[in-house]
């Protein structure tokens, strides 16, 4: 049954991708395919990165409501970026190579996320609702701090940053795309290799220890991988709050399996279908002006509401 569902998912992804590339194309095919191919690649990359990060996060927190972006990880990424521009000035910022900047940001985000994780999520005594609420509030705090610091820096420096703080699936840097694809590919490889270990990590804090496995090192490693994925997706398109939640809850629905060897590929496929299909529907079929991010935000928010209402009433 699982195999059949995977076939359906792959078929769906191929169909929406082909439609995305060809539907309503006018003029030179070479140009259209190149132009749309880049967009398609970035959508698939983001969809895959965000959904992998979400599944990993939910595995190590043993919790299917929280996601890295609900906890404010991508706001944190932007905050760190803002602080770096604030510290160096726009001139200094422009001189440092992009890759170095990205790596510094990545290291800082990893450190911050490990700190957040150990502070908040390891506390088994705290109740789930307080944890989720804290996550959301922290997200708001990071966003407001970022906004505040943006206003404190000079207007010219502000312009450098402004382009980085909106979710946009339409304009993606081609250079960034290649580097991101390599990074995400490497991360996927690492995640795939530890898929069985993830199955153990999902068991909780106590059971793995009695099975003879120390979960802490695994959790740290997973947090680092999540930081890489979040950094790439945020650097590429900006924050997408509820996409991960939408995809992960769809995945758990469609793939009733505890094996990460099943869940992760399915989540990547569903992430791609959601973004490519959504963009196709919105842009080509309905001809809406609204960016996909807004619609995803709305739907994902509804899913979140349903999840916490159900969780709260049990």
């Amino acid at each position: 049954m699982l195999r059949l569902r995977f076939l359906w998912l792959i078929l769906a992804l191929v169909v929406v991708s082909v439609l995305f590339l060809t539907l309503g194309a006018k003029g030179s095919w070479g140009f259209t395919l190149w132009f749309r191919g880049q967009k398609l690649a970035s959508l698939l990359l983001i969809g895959g990165a965000v959904s992998t990060a979400t599944i990993l996060f939910q595995t190590i927190t043993h919790n299917r409501i929280l996601t890295p972006s609900i906890m404010g990880f991508d706001a944190l990424f932007l905050l760190i970026l803002t602080l770096m521009i604030f510290g160096m000035g726009a001139g200094g910022y422009a001189q440092v190579p992009k890759v170095t900047l990205f790596l510094i940001n990545l290291v800082l985000l990893t450190l911050a996320s490990v700190a957040l994780f150990t502070l908040l999520l390891k506390d088994q005594s705290s109740d789930l609702m307080r944890m989720v609420l804290t996550g959301i509030i922290l997200g708001v705090l990071f966003r407001s701090l970022g906004l505040l610091i943006q206003r404190l820096i000079d207007p010219s420096e502000f312009a450098v940053l402004q382009s980085a703080s909106f979710a946009r699936f339409n304009k993606v840097d081609a250079d960034l795309l290649l580097a991101s694809a390599i990074l995400v590919g490497l991360t996927w490889g690492a995640v795939w290799r530890m898929r069985h270990r993830l199955d153990v990590l999902a068991l909780g804090e106590v059971l793995p220890v009695s099975l003879g496995a120390d979960p802490r090192r695994g959790q740290l490693l997973v947090l680092m991988l999540i930081s890489v994925l979040v950094s790439v997706s945020t650097a590429l398109v900006g924050p997408v709050a509820f996409l991960g939640l939408l995809v992960s809850s769809l995945t758990y629905r469609l793939i009733p399996s505890w094996h990460h060897g099943h869940i992760l590929p399915a989540a990547i496929l569903i992430g791609g279908i959601t973004l490519v299909g959504g963009q196709l529907l919105l842009e080509r079929i309905l001809h809406f002006e609204t960016p996909l991010a807004v619609v995803v935000e709305c739907l994902g928010g509804l899913v979140f509401l349903i999840l916490i209402l159900r969780k709260g009433s049990t």
């Binding site: 609420l133 509030i137 705090l141 906004l147 206003r151 404190l152 809406f288 509401l305």
Partner: protein
């Protein structure tokens, strides 16, 4: 003890108001007021209205937050982030779309109606929640507000009005001038009216059964509270934009120190709200002088920090 608090708040408001009048991009000194007619003009057109707007917003939002907490029977909610504010903004957007030529009064009324509907929707949601999970209520509120906000952004994109909504999403007082803030006095009146029936709200806070057995017209007081919350939210969103977390933080601070006797605490809550908003507005003017920082971002930082403190440092008796 409450008297002392009241006195301190009053003094602080007066002090900050004087400060607020003389802080700004254009220099204004007390001496200039006596001889320079232009200085008087500045005072009348910009500084006084701005100061009044900040105080009125702070007072009425703190009071409406308190009332919202009674209506929902949960300490961790406030109208602006739990859907009422977003619904009000949605109403303004709709009025711009449907009646572009209409004046402020129409905009305002439509915003109040949608704010009322939004609050009713939130109340209906909250009624389904189990009473054992108090933090579920603010969580649902934040997400509910977020969804309404996303709907608003969606409509704004479709109608090409996206640049408008920024004004309502992030509150600030830099646009306040004579002739553009007077609606806020209505919010002040609404807050005052709710003080007159403060004891009935206090009984309402005991729950439906208890208040009915004490002889309260539960339905009527509930409706009044809803009306007050919606009108105040609509007015503040129309004139200065969304200022989240004041309605949450201030009533909680007061209630932790002074208890829940609203007849005693409501004036203090109102004044403290005024002090807080005015103080933040002055801070917003000086922190990046001569530019201004939107006061909404300052609230975003201070308010979330205070919120976190509130949910982690629970009072011993809770």
């Amino acid at each position: 003890m409450p008297r002392l608090w009241l006195l301190i708040c009053l003094c602080l408001i007066l002090l900050l108001s004087v400060l607020s009048i003389f802080v700004g991009v254009i220099d204004l000194s007390p001496a200039a007021l006596l001889r320079d007619p232009e200085a008087l003009q500045l005072l009348a057109v910009s500084r006084l209205p701005r100061t009044a707007a900040a105080v009125l917003t702070g007072c009425s939002m703190a009071v409406s937050g308190q009332i919202m907490q009674i209506l929902v029977r949960n300490k961790f909610v406030e109208p602006i982030s739990a859907g009422t504010g977003q619904a009000a903004a949605l109403g303004i957007l709709l009025s711009v779309l449907l009646f572009p030529a209409a004046g402020l009064a129409v905009k305002m009324s439509l915003a109040a109606v949608t704010a009322l509907l939004g609050t009713l929707g939130f109340l209906a949601l909250v009624q389904r929640l189990p009473p054992t999970e108090p933090l579920l209520v603010p969580l649902v509120g934040l997400v509910y507000g977020g969804i309404l906000g996303a709907v608003m952004v969606f409509i704004a994109y479709q109608a090409d009005l996206i640049q408008y909504i920024d004004v309502w999403m992030l509150g600030e007082f830099s646009g306040v001038m004579r002739g553009r803030y007077e609606l806020l006095w209505l919010a002040g009146v609404a807050a005052f009216v709710s003080y007159l029936i403060a004891d009935q709200f206090a009984i309402l806070g005991l729950g439906r059964d208890m208040s009915l057995s004490l002889g309260l017209n539960h339905r009527q007081v509930m409706a009044l509270g809803l009306l007050c919350v919606s009108v105040v939210s609509a007015l503040t969103v129309v004139t200065v934009g969304m200022l989240p977390f004041i309605g949450l933080v201030i009533p909680n601070l007061v209630s932790r120190r002074l208890g829940d006797n609203l007849r005693v605490t409501l004036p203090i809550t109102a004044l403290l709200g005024g002090v807080f908003v005015l103080g933040c507005d002055i801070l917003a003017r000086v922190v990046r002088y001569p530019y201004e920082v939107p006061v909404g971002t300052i609230f975003g930082v201070l308010g979330t920090l205070a919120f976190l403190w509130l949910i982690y440092a629970r009072p011993r008796n809770a």
